[in-house]
């Protein structure tokens, strides 16, 4: 297993290098530079800025400087936030993104699996239809629509929760962002769980369990849940990556200082270092999460483990 994990990790190095190289050159080919804007700067200032950030050097030399720094663990400077390097900014934003993402991930799993199991147990009965309809709302409504609705209802009308901000990091500030972030994934997990559970419940070993007189709840918990989780686990890797990387809208609407917003802002600002830094960070994260999923998969399915 360790050998397998190491092999997987090593195989990501060339992938990472290709991605960084492609991203570096594609970014430089995009029209507009980091210092273009509504107020053009005088040529002398542009020249000084270009020299300051090595942008006056040939592109290939800039690339070699970047890769050299990267190998030393330096993600370089940010053009848009001069007081912090790219690495420092990622480290500052990470705890916020991580807190929201992890909580949303756990909430999505808890709600998704519970609702999915209930749906399977009450297949084609009223609870199944009601829960299915509720979950569908979470899946089809985009978070940029749900977030303002929740803000209006719970933040402004009822004044139960803060409308935005990190505040002091207390739970009440986090409830709405976590719910908004978790909702679509909870919906998808519940649909996958329901389908998988129905399939498992129709299999022979479940019939045997039922024939032995084991109650429905116990049959689900003891025999059906683990095999039914296989497709759910496959989904958890991408879901975790999405929750950690795709919180852009949520962070923006709720004014949270996480790194989800960095990427788009950096791309729009042509903040080359920041774009590359976030790409590298997310790639490493996705590779790591996928590895975890593979390990979980092997644990759940002996066939994979023994392969």
């Amino acid at each position: 297993m360790i050998k397998y994990a190491l092999r997987r990790l090593l195989s990501t190095i060339p992938v990472l290098w290709i991605a960084v190289t492609a991203c570096f050159f594609v970014l430089r080919l995009a029209p507009g530079g980091p210092f273009d804007g509504e107020r053009p700067l005088p040529p002398v200032i542009m020249k000084n800025l270009a020299a300051h950030y090595n942008l006056d050097k040939p592109l290939i030399q800039q690339y070699l400087i970047y890769v050299g720094d990267l190998l030393k663990g330096d993600l370089g400077p940010s053009f848009a936030s001069e007081d912090f390097t790219v690495g420092q900014q990622i480290m500052i934003g990470l705890p916020y993104t991580f807190t929201i993402g992890t909580a949303a991930f756990l909430l999505a799993i808890l709600v998704g699996i519970t609702v999915g199991c209930l749906g399977a147990l009450y297949q084609n009965k009223t609870p199944d239809y009601v829960l299915g309809a509720l979950i569908l709302i979470g899946v089809v409504l985009p978070n940029f629509l749900i977030a303002p609705i929740l803000q209006l209802v719970f933040g402004i009308r009822l004044a139960w929760l803060p409308v935005g901000g990190w505040g002091d990091g207390s739970f009440k500030f986090l409830i709405m962002p976590i719910v908004v972030l978790a909702l679509p994934h909870a919906g998808r997990i519940s649909r996958i769980t329901r389908g998988s559970m129905i399939e498992v419940m129709s299999q022979n070993f479940i019939r045997t369990a039922k024939a032995k007189g084991i109650g429905a709840r116990l049959t689900v918990m003891r025999h059906a849940l683990k095999p039914a989780m296989m497709p759910v686990v496959s989904y958890l890797g991408p879901a975790a990556s999405y929750l950690l990387t795709g919180s852009l809208v949520v962070e923006s609407v709720f004014g949270l200082p996480g790194i989800g917003r960095y990427f788009i802002n950096a791309a729009l600002n042509r903040d080359y270092g920041m774009v590359l830094g976030t790409v590298i960070f997310y790639m490493v994260l996705i590779v790591f999460l996928n590895l975890l999923v593979d390990i979980a998969y092997a644990w759940l399915d002996p066939k994979v483990r023994n392969r």
Binding site: E38, I92, I156
Partner: protein, 526 residues
Amino acid sequence: MNHITKKFLASAMLGTLLAFSAHAATLNIHNGGDPTSLDPQKLSGDWENRIAGDIFEGLVTEDAKDNPIPAQAESWTVSDDGKVYTFKLRDGIKWSDGQPVTAGDFVFALQRIMDPKNAADYAYLQSTIKNAEKINKGEITDFNQLGVKAIDDKTLEITLENPTPYFINALMHYTAYPLPKHVVEAKGQDWVKIGNIVTNGPYKPTEWVPGSHVTTVKNDQWYGVKDLKIDGAKFFVLEDQEAALKRYRAGEFDILTDFPTDQYEWMKTNLPGQAHVAPFAGLYYYVVNSTKPPFSDKRVRQALSMAINREVIGPQILGTGELPAYSWVPPGTANYGEPAYVSWKDMPYGEKVAEAKKLLQEAGFGPDKPLHAVLSYNTNDNHKRIAVAIASMWKPLGVNVELVNAETKVHYDQMQRGQVEIGRAGWLADYNDPDNFLNLLVTGVQMNYGRWSNPEYDKLIKEGNAQTDLAKRAEIFKKAEQLALDESAAMPIYYYVSKNVVSPKIEGFVDNVQDIHRTRWLSMKE
């Protein structure tokens, strides 16, 4: 517990402590973007100016109405030729660490901003100082040749290249703030980090969470600290204006520095008296590429400009009542008086369209030979609405408009390369003076996107800037402005308005043309 977790918990705990300790009179401001830096020499945005102007103070500063008032300098004299300013510094001025602010700190700061190695975006705003431009270009390497001298700790002498009537206004800008030489030299680039930074303004920063907020508290070393009514401020990063308005409604923000224009009508009814829409020293305009036929023909440019129904743009298309622009310099600009206007300003709109048709026909365009024009604008709902409306206003002239939308960086890159036919642009005054607008049409200036060029105009601007008599200077500038308008050098569309939302519990907020509202002038009702 690892480093990140510790840092995270510390930040949360500090936030909690600050929230409790300064609850009553902490101002919560929706500030828009994330500041680039707390170093005033690295800034370029109004959201950064709000913070910098609270924590630093120049020789001169703004009062609540944005008029210059003595600040770190208690007085000054100007030589007869208008070139040498001698400032007497106020007694007892100190940095937040208790060290005295000296004339040497101003010399140090101005030399530093001109140093090409520091690559300060806005260094050119102080280029009226003797040798400043040459030092910034690297043509002079001896910084002592900059026209800034400390006669003694309390006396500062600044020599200009030419007499500059707006120089005192330019000194209010953050590019003229002093820097704590003793800290910058000791800490290098890290001088600006929280924990190291030392400031000389009414407030000092205590916390900066990128992407979230900057917190300031009273600077007890500042000479006027006992008069401050607000204990400190939190400048929140939030670019989503809809979300900001919701947080304002929930009482989480005391001031919004911008709001979605389509919410203005709703706010007038539901938040009466809280939305402040006021004239702002800024111009929204379209440039026309004068080097490209048929736009090189003055008649074509004038026809297009005349057919824009400016009266409907502010009230109906934007909904915030921006005033129609028929001049190049916004009315109310200092050192100017009433600006020059296009000759057809007061013509009824129907007549303007008829005249525009005639002009286009004279230029060879009509129903048989429609004019094809590409109108470029940067991504923004308001720019889009205006472009669509103007395209429809040009339709009756027989002008077929192709709308091209690009993100800001791309749009301005193309504008600078002269790759647009007609392009959207805007200008907000850096300092309150007509030169700041008129300079946009001078030959070879980077912001002259339409590349309109007129030697007579260039001559008049140069002549005006060399004139020390303000009345004569205004007269010369007005001649230049009239010339540009007669030639339809570009198409002014509307004068910007500032859009703030101010909680009824805030007092002392005065609308002004530069939309600058320092916390020191505000107070909060309990």
